[in-house]
């Protein structure tokens, strides 16, 4: 199994009564609530933690894109990835992902990811996301009914720009380019590609039809995820595709300490901070036209199954930061405890959900750096080594295979394509 290091880069100094003010934590959060100096401090901390994760055996470093929110101060995942590309050595740069509809022209994504792949010596995982309604529709103003079309057009352009050997013309509805001829090309012959989703069948099709890794990226834990993840694997079977655990990623908040009691003492406040300050004004959470009718139907159906193990009241309480530490743990919002407890729980989770790519959230809310350092260290040295054996019978085609030195010249897309043609 692969374990990737991740954190929502949450701004840690919101006032204690932020939730009670009723202010939205996205889109319209008053800017006077943050101090740019502190943003610099926190970003440097996240970079240090990811450098540590690289040294201590994590398989990937996940970076993401959000806008106008203290929940995740990461407007450009590519900038963060660039910082990591030259200061880390082994871990994949898991960009999960660029919000394709927000780049104009989307060539920007093709160029930057390719450039990052060169800079990092072939370590990029290319994640494509629609973006949350808050990010893509409200902060960046994309019309809800155009979002999906813009995303797919951009994806088509980007993947072609990476692989077409000759310059080509692209006459899209939203992007028109007479000359597409990407410089530089990615170092990897085919960058691994990932898409996250929230349970819509359309996104399952997208992932499965294009051999992308599908990410179920929620912070609501096992009980909320189980029906959706099971439905995904049923769908994989229905389509007659190999149920390879590596084609699915899952996020999990992890709170590891030497003992269970220590875990509670060190993480309880940060976990509450994380959930409590994620309140989004309901008007910004969705918008007419954002979800397809088919997807709303399927989500409603799964929501019903979820309530059997996690009542809507409990879910709401969790979202308000009102659950006890071990209650969060019981429902799977967090996996907490000693390295052995955490190992056991993660192994069960991975087997239960058939997950090959675990995205561990090793920092949350306003956690102190030294606790995140310990968390990362315990995971890297005492948990991950004992999870490596999982799923070894499957091939992982969704993380980079470091190219051997000196093959760069022969790995140009034109030659790769010629080889493919020759094989066919």
């Amino acid at each position: 199994m692969k374990v990737h290091w991740f954190a929502e880069a949450s701004y840690p100094h919101l006032p204690p009564n932020f939730r009670e003010t009723g202010l939205s934590s996205w889109v319209t959060t008053p800017a006077h609530l943050h101090d740019p100096y502190e943003v610099g401090e926190m970003c440097r901390m996240f970079i240090r933690l990811m450098q540590q994760a690289d040294r201590e055996g994590f398989d990937g470093l996940a970076v993401n894109e959000h806008h106008q929110t203290p929940f995740a101060v990461t407007p450009s995942p590519n900038l963060l990835a660039a910082t990591l590309a030259t200061t880390t050595e082994k871990a994949a740069l898991l960009i999960i992902g660029d919000s394709l509809a927000l780049y104009n022209p989307p060539m920007r994504v093709a160029e930057e990811m390719a450039w990052l792949d060169c800079l990092s010596n072939g370590r990029v995982i290319a994640g494509f996301v629609f973006g949350t309604p808050m990010d893509s529709l409200y902060c960046y103003g994309v019309p809800p009914l155009e979002l999906r079309e813009r995303f797919h057009e951009a994806r088509d352009l980007i993947t072609r720009a990476w692989s077409e050997p000759e310059p080509f013309a692209f006459n899209g509805k939203y992007t028109k380019l007479r000359y597409v001829n990407l410089w530089p090309r990615p170092l990897q012959p085919r960058m691994p590609m990932w898409v996250p989703g929230s349970g819509s069948v359309e996104t399952w099709d997208l992932a499965l039809d294009n051999d992308y890794c599908y990410g179920h990226l929620s912070f609501s834990g096992l009980h909320s995820a189980k029906p959706l993840v099971d439905a995904f694997w049923d769908y994989v079977d229905e389509k007659g595709i190999e149920a390879n655990p590596y084609r699915m990623a899952f996020t999990q908040l992890i709170c590891c300490a030497e003992t269970d009691a220590e875990a509670e003492a060190k993480y309880a406040e940060a976990v509450k901070y994380f959930y409590r300050n994620r309140y989004v004004h309901p008007g910004f959470e969705s918008v007419p036209g954002y979800r397809t009718a088919k997807s709303m139907q399927s989500m409603a159906q799964h929501a019903q199954q979820t309530t059997s193990k996690l009542s809507p009241e409990d879910k709401a309480r969790a979202g308000r930061g009102e659950m006890g530490f071990w209650e969060y743990d019981k429902h799977g919002f967090i996996v907490a405890g000693s390295p052995e407890t955490v190992r056991q729980r993660l192994e069960e989770l991975a087997k239960d959900l058939k997950i090959g790519q675990l995205i561990g959230c090793l920092h949350m809310g306003n956690l102190a750096e030294e606790v995140a350092v310990e968390n990362t260290h315990l995971l890297g040295t005492r948990v991950i080594p004992k999870l490596k054996h999982l799923w070894t019978e499957f091939e992982d085609r969704w993380t980079p295979t470091p190219p051997a030195r000196g093959v760069r010249a022969s790995a140009t897309p034109a030659l790769v394509r010629n080889r493919e043609l020759a094989r066919a």
Partner: protein, 258 residues
């Protein structure tokens, strides 16, 4: 009134129709078609009223083929053409988003439009009077912004929803609002200000004094840009003057249309 489902070109269009006389087209607002609302029925007393549902709303199709405002205008040109051919031109009454559409049609197709009535129209943006975001505000906030007397009217607003339109009224509403975002997201300005000076039709602009979705200050902005317009602000009504101040609304419209 009668409900007519017809195909114009390849596009299904549902309309509420009734009455005889000179043709009057009514274009509805961003939330929904008002159905056979009282003000529409009364307009049929001396006019041949036709109130089509916009593409993507209720049972009208053709939404997928629309890319921008020119496609929308061409759609309505096809809807209006037959009546205009018979009578020379038609009167257009447009409310809210339908007001924006009516103004666009009058700018693009001055030959088709005799007189134009814009009721609480969207389509312009004033930095000094930013409009609330009708898609993000909560339903109670929307209700407060749209009515002068929310308690009296919220439960009584007429609409064109009929069994079979969608699984539920809520789904019908979501569908309508989704279609409205095409022209109103994230700011309901598609360049109408550039085109308003091309409108030749005599124009009446009506705003509700208590409209907090598109406040009456927008009446001045429309008046300034339209070559031949006057505006009237009706008291004791919000974004739907034809519902909340039906008599005053009809009196203004009838006296203007003649």
């Amino acid at each position: 009134m009668q409900i007519v489902l017809e195909t114009i070109g390849t596009t299904p269009v549902r309309s509420w129709t009734g009455g005889q006389g000179a043709p009057l087209f009514y274009l509805h607002g961003f939330e929904q078609h008002p159905g056979a609302a009282s003000f529409l029925r009364r307009l049929t007393e001396d006019r041949a009223v036709r109130a089509p549902e916009h593409p993507g709303f209720g049972r009208s199709g053709g939404f997928e083929a629309l890319v921008d405002i020119s496609d929308l205008v061409l759609h309505y040109r096809a809807v209006i053409e037959a009546a205009a051919a018979q009578h020379g031109s038609v009167d257009l009454v447009g409310h809210s988003l339908g007001g924006m559409f009516a103004a666009e049609i009058a700018a693009f197709c001055p030959d088709l439009v005799r007189k134009l009535v814009l009721v609480a129209p969207y389509g312009l943006w004033l930095d000094e009077a930013p409009l609330p975001d009708p898609f993000a505000i909560t339903l109670p906030e929307l209700t407060k912004a749209k009515w002068s007397d929310p308690e009296a009217w919220t439960a009584r607003e007429p609409n064109g929803f009929a069994a079979g339109d969608a699984p539920s009224y809520d789904a019908y509403r979501q569908q309508n609002l989704g279609a409205a975002t095409k022209y109103m997201w994230p700011i309901p300005d598609r360049g109408l200000a550039r085109r308003l000076p091309r409108v030749r039709a005599q124009t009446l602009i009506i705003y509700g004094a208590d409209d907090r979705l598109v406040p009456p200050v927008y009446a001045d902005a429309f008046s300034r840009l339209l070559p031949n317009a006057r505006s009237v602000i009706l008291p004791r009504c919000g974004h739907l003057p034809m519902i909340e101040a039906e008599d005053a609304f009809l009196a203004e419209v009838r006296s203007f249309l003649g």
